[in-house]
Amino acid sequence: MDWNSFVTLLPAFLQGTWMTIRLFLITLLFSLPLGMIITKGRMSKMKWLSGLVAVFQWVIRGTPLMLQLVIVMYFPSIALGIKGVNRFTAAGIAFIINYAAYFSEIYRSGIESIPAGQLEAAKVLGLSKGRTFRRIILPQTVKRILPAMGNEFMTLVKDTALAQVIGNIELLKVAQSQMNRTTSMVPLLIAGVFYMIMNGAVQLIIAAWENRLDYYKG
């Protein structure tokens, strides 16, 4: 594959990249807050709720994301007769649910790692539960879970490639199609560079964020 054909193909690669980025952003936009709701359920004092959420986490984290994509895409139409499920929407739903389940456990581990003394101090000072969570627990949790979340974000960038299983033309799919035409591995390497650039950005953002929270220890 020479330079000229790379230039002609650039729009296609960018289109695939744009699909990847959209899926990445939509997944984060919804799964970050959804994960917190799941955490709340998991940490609930009501045993039935916490148990139910634990089963949900087991199902979602215990099965391949690819299987979940296929179920979201084809179950409604084949089993329930709901036709015309949008491919991108289906991918979004599967990714959001899957990542929210993972995020929720990271949140929980972060929250539970905050020393009990922090909660007790807030209680003795009369801070409300909401204020305690927002002002005391959440900021410290963010700092603790940031490295783990950074890992997840980078995995998500690459996981978007799975969306092709239900017919989404994302970056890796574009590369694979071109690989089959050109019978060369170069398109795959180009896609690799695109993924590296995206994850480079993710890494920089996480590093900058970590840097901003580096003003305190503990």
Partner: protein, 257 residues
């Protein structure tokens, strides 16, 4: 006779099958400094935590600043006060922790003004002025914008005292305030408590520092295995006791020192 600040009658607390408090009674008057001493596991910290509502008592009656925190009826059912009263009592009683429990992500100033602004709804300006005055008084005038990790243990404990004082509590409790400190740093914290005693602050101090207890306390309570073995003036406890358990405990402490 000065005003009664705290009345505790027959307070009980269990963790599962373990009885930690087996009916403790005492009264604290305004301006009194109470020192509670006793071996580890005697229930002294739990007693303090019950007064601060960090633990729920399983029986007894507690009245703090004329407000009933909890009462127990003839059938043994415990009734806690309603939420607003609980909250009011919470603010009347300050607590200083063994491990300081400062908020590590907030500056010293933010640690101190958080509750005055968001609980007492003071305006920021006066809360800051008040906090600066407290820091000045506790000998930390230049630490306003520092973060907890930048301070020594003794300085952190003084900040946590300032944080408790910023809410103008009527009673201040200390849960082994010097136990987490290096020996050379205990002095600065004890001096602060000593100064507060001079100002007539009502205080309950759980401590292992016998000499300090002797010097600063008006009354000393010796607890063991969930009950009060002996209560009296420091002189009575430290010099005149005829109770065998008290003597054994004091002997042991002396040997350690």
């Amino acid at each position: 006779m000065s005003k009664t600040m705290i009345t505790v009658k027959n307070i009980e607390k269990r963790f599962g099958d373990l009885e930690v408090l087996k009916g403790i009674s005492f009264e604290v008057n305004q301006g009194d400094v109470y020192a509670i001493i006793g071996p580890s596991g005697s229930g002294k910290s739990t007693l303090l935590r019950c007064l601060n509502q960090l633990e729920m008592a399983d029986g007894g009656d507690v009245t703090i600043c004329d407000k009933v925190l909890l009462s127990t009826d003839a059938d043994g059912n415990v009734h806690y006060c309603d939420v607003p009263t609980c909250r009011q009592i919470q603010l009347d009683v300050g607590l200083v922790f063994q491990n300081f429990n400062l908020f590590p992500h907030l500056s010293i100033l933010e640690n101190i003004i958080e509750a005055p602004i968001h609980v007492l709804e003071e305006d920021r300006k006066s809360a800051v002025a008040n906090a600066e005055a407290l820091l000045e008084k506790l000998g930390l005038p230049d630490k306003r914008d520092a973060y907890p990790y930048q301070l020594s243990g003794g300085q952190q404990q003084r900040v946590s005292i300032a944080r408790a004082l910023a809410l103008n509590p009527k009673i201040l409790c200390f849960d082994e305030p010097t136990s987490a400190l290096d020996p050379e740093l205990t002095g600065e914290v004890l001096k602060v408590i000593h100064d507060l005693a001079q100002e007539n602050m009502t205080m309950i101090i759980v401590t292992h520092e016998m000499r300090f207890a002797e010097e600063v306390a008006d009354r000393v309570i010796f607890m063991d295995q969930g009950i009060i073995i002996e209560e009296g003036t420091p002189y009575e406890i430290f010099n005149q006791t005829i109770n065998e358990r008290t003597m054994r405990f004091l002997q042991k402490i002396q040997n350690q020192e």
